[in-house]
C-alpha cells in the first residue's frame, strides 16, 4: 500500500513537472533527464523511510543508504566483477548471439530450404532453459567467462532471429517492386531496401537483448564460476546474508544495463531517424 501510494505520488509529481516542462524539454536533454531522476529519487526516499520506519530486517531489504555505503566501500570488488561479467561475458556473448541470430535470419530469408529447415529449429532454441544450458556450457567451455558468453549467445539468439525475420518482411510491396524493376540482386535488395526497412525491428531485438544478455550472464554464473563476477557475488553474498552487497551488485547491473540500453537507443535514433516512431508524429 505504502509503495503504491508512494509511486502514485511520484508519478503525479512527475506528470505535473513534465507538463510544465513539455514545451521546453523538446530538445533539452538535461531537463529530459530530470524527470526520471526526480521519479527515482522519490522512490529511493520512500524506500529508505519504509525500511527504516517499519524496521524491515536488513537481510530482506536493506535501505538505500546502506547499499550506497556498501558500493562506495567495495569499488575494487565491484569493478572486478563488472569487468568479468559485463565486459567479457555480456559484451562478447551479446555480439556473437545477435550476430548469429542475424545471420541465421538472413540464411532463412535467403533460401526456402533453410526457411523450412532452420526456422523450426530456431523456435526450438527459443527457450532452451538457461538452467539446463548453463551447466552444460560449463561442462563444455569451462568455468571462466567463455561458458557465460555461450549462455548469452543462446539467450540472445532467438529474439534477434524472430525480429530480423519479421523485419525483413517489413518493406512494402511497391518498394520491393522498385528493386525488381532494377533487376537488383538479392544482396543489393537486402542492403539497400530490406535491411533499412528491417532496422526498427532489429533494434527492438538489440534493445531487448541488451537486458537479456545481462540477466543471462549473471544467472549463468550461479552454475559454476571462478570466484569473481556479478552473478557469483550475488549468489554468494545472499548465502552470507550480506544483502547490501547483493543490492550493490544489482545497482551496478541496473546502471550498466540501462546505459547499455541507452546507448543502443541513441544509435537507433540515429539509424532509424526516418521511422514514424522516431520522426515523431
Amino acid at each position: 500500500m505504502a509503495l503504491i501510494s508512494a509511486w502514485l505520488f511520484a508519478w503525479l509529481f512527475v506528470e505535473r513537472l513534465s507538463r510544465a516542462l513539455a514545451p521546453a524539454t523538446r530538445d533539452n536533454a538535461g531537463l529530459g533527464l530530470l524527470i526520471p531522476i526526480v521519479f527515482g529519487v522519490t522512490i529511493l526516499v520512500v524506500w529508505e523511510v519504509v525500511t527504516r520506519g517499519a524496521n524491515v530486517p536488513q537481510v530482506i531489504l536493506p535501505p538505500p543508504s546502506m547499499i550506497w555505503a556498501r558500493i562506495t566501500s567495495s569499488v575494487p570488488t565491484l569493478l572486478a566483477d563488472f569487468q568479468q561479467t559485463f565486459l567479457k561475458a555480456v559484451l562478447i556473448g551479446y555480439a556473437l548471439g545477435c550476430g548469429l541470430g542475424f545471420v541465421v535470419a538472413i540464411l532463412i530469408d535467403r533460401s526456402p530450404f533453410f526457411k523450412s529447415g532452420l526456422l523450426p529449429l530456431g523456435n526450438f532454441v527459443s527457450a532452451l532453459p538457461i538452467v539446463g544450458v548453463a551447466p552444460i556450457m560449463v561442462m563444455w567451455f569451462g568455468f571462466d567467462w567463455q561458458s557465460k558468453a555461450a549462455v548469452v549467445v543462446i539467450m540472445t539468439f532467438f529474439p534477434m532471429l524472430v525480429n530480423t525475420v519479421a523485419g525483413l518482411n517489413a518493406a512494402s510491396s511497391i518498394e520491393r517492386d522498385l528493386m525488381r524493376t532494377y533487376a537488383a540482386s538479392y544482396w543489393q535488395t537486402l542492403l539497400k531496401l530490406r535491411l533499412p526497412a528491417a532496422a526498427p525491428f532489429i533494434f527492438n531485438a538489440l534493445k531487448i537483448n541488451s537486458t537479456l544478455a545481462l540477466i543471462g550472464a549473471i544467472v549463468a554464473e550461479f552454475f559454476g564460476t571462478p570466484i569473481v563476477g556479478m552473478g557469483f557475488r550475488i549468489s554468494t553474498e545472499v548465502g552470507r546474508m550480506n544483502v547490501d552487497m547483493v543490492w550493490a551488485e544489482i545497482a551496478v547491473a541496473a546502471v550498466a544495463g540501462s546505459l547499455f540500453y541507452g546507448v543502443i537507443t541513441l544509435i537507433e535514433r540515429g539509424v532509424t531517424f526516418w521511422h514514424p516512431s522516431v520522426r515523431g508524429a
Partner: protein
C-alpha cells in the same frame, strides 16, 4: 493441532530423512502437530525465509546460522540432530594431490552460498592464499554436482560423505584413485544441519512447548530412519516431486546420514559448538567474515531440556 513450518536447507533427499519419516510415520501427528516441510534449493537461504516469516524453524549449518545472527537475524540453535559433519574435500591423486602440502597451484572446487566458511577457515589454518598463483589455491565456485572432478576441471571438489562422494565412487573412480580430506579430521569441522528458530519466539512458552514436541518427534524419525534405512529412503523418494532421484542413491544417502546422526539426543554438544566458533574466529578475514566476534546466546537448551 498445532502448525509447524520447517524450511530445509536443501532439496528433498536422504539428508532430511528424519523429518520426512516423522511425517510419514505419524510421529508429528502423535504430538498433535501438523508439519509442513518446505524443501530448499540452491538459492533459498533458510535464514532469509525465517526472517521473512516464512518458516517457524529451519535447518542450517552452524556457520551460516551464526553469520546470519551477526547480521541481524537473531537465530538460536534449539537442537542438533547431526552429531558429526560430513563435508569432504575429494581430490584426484592423478592431479597430484596426496597431502595438504600439494595444494598450492591447484584448482579447488568449493560450494559457496554459506557453505564456504569451513573451507576458508581451513585455508587460513594452512596459511594458503585463495587468490590463485603458485603459492595459493585457485578457487572455483562449484555447482552442486561432481562434474568438475570427473571432467578434471578441478583437482579437488567439495563432496558430502552421504551424497557426492557416493556419486564419485559410482562413476567408477575407485577410492585408491582419490585423496579424501575430512574437515573434521583437519580440525576445521563445523556443526551441520541443526534446527534454528528466531530468538524472540523462545520467550513464548507455548512456542517452546511446540518446538519440544517437534524436536521429539523428529528425533524419533531419525531413530526410525537409522533402524529402517531402506524404508526411510523410500519415504524420501515418495516426497520427491521431481521424479529425478533413484532409490539406490537414497538408500546410500540415508545409510551414510545415519552415521552422522548416530549418538545425537538432539541436544547441542557445547564442546562441538565451541570448536565451531573457535574455528570461525580463528579465520576472520575481510574475504570471509562469517563472524567477527564471539556470538552471544546463539544456542539454547530450553527445548532439548524438555525432551
Amino acid at each position: 493441532q498445532d502448525n509447524v513450518t520447517l524450511q530445509l536447507k536443501w532439496v528433498t533427499q536422504g539428508q532430511f530423512a528424519g523429518y520426512y519419516v516423522a511425517q510419514a510415520k505419524g510421529f508429528y501427528d502423535e504430538e498433535g502437530l501438523t508439519v509442513e516441510i518446505k524443501p530448499g534449493g540452491p538459492d533459498i537461504a533458510p535464514e532469509q525465509v525465517i526472517a521473512g516469516g516464512g518458516a517457524d524453524v529451519i535447518t542450517t549449518w552452524m556457520a551460516a546460522g551464526l553469520a546470519a545472527r551477526e547480521r541481524g537475524v537473531p537465530l538460536v540453535n534449539i537442537a542438533q540432530p547431526f552429531k558429526s559433519s560430513g563435508l569432504l574435500l575429494t581430490c584426484l591423486k592423478e592431479a597430484g594431490v596426496e597431502t595438504t602440502a600439494d595444494f598450492p597451484g591447484k584448482t579447488l572446487g568449493v560450494w559457496f552460498f554459506g557453505n564456504e566458511y569451513p573451507f576458508y577457515a581451513w585455508m587460513a589454518k594452512l596459511g594458503l592464499s585463495t587468490e590463485g598463483g603458485a603459492d595459493g589455491v585457485e578457487v572455483l565456485k562449484q555447482a552442486f554436482n561432481v562434474d568438475p572432478l570427473i571432467q578434471k576441471q578441478a583437482a579437488c571438489i567439495s563432496t558430502m560423505t552421504y551424497n557426492e562422494f557416493g556419486q564419485v565412487l559410482k562413476a567408477g573412480i575407485t577410492p585408491e584413485e582419490l585423496t579424501v580430506f575430512n574437515y573434521r579430521d583437519e580440525g576445521v569441522g563445523m556443526l551441520e544441519d541443526g534446527l534454528y528458530v528466531m530468538e524472540d519466539k523462545l520467550a513464548d512458552p507455548a512456542f517452546v512447548e511446540k518446538m519440544t514436541k517437534f524436536v521429539r518427534a523428529s528425533m524419533k524419525g531419525w531413530e526410525y530412519a537409522r533402524a529402517n534405512p531402506e524404508e526411510a529412503a523410500q519415504i524420501v523418494l515418495d516426497n520427491d516431486m521431481t521424479g529425478a532421484m533413484t532409490l539406490e542413491d537414497q538408500v546410500y544417502q540415508v545409510s551414510e546420514i545415519n552415521k552422522l546422526t548416530e549418538g545425537s539426543t538432539g541436544a547441542l554438544d557445547e564442546a562441538a559448538y565451541r570448536q565451531t566458533v573457535d574455528t570461525l574466529l580463528s579465520a576472520v578475514s575481510p574475504d570471509n567474515p562469517a563472524i567477527t566476534k564471539e556470538p552471544e546466546g546463539a544456542f539454547s537448551h530450553v527445548v532439548t531440556d524438555g525432551l
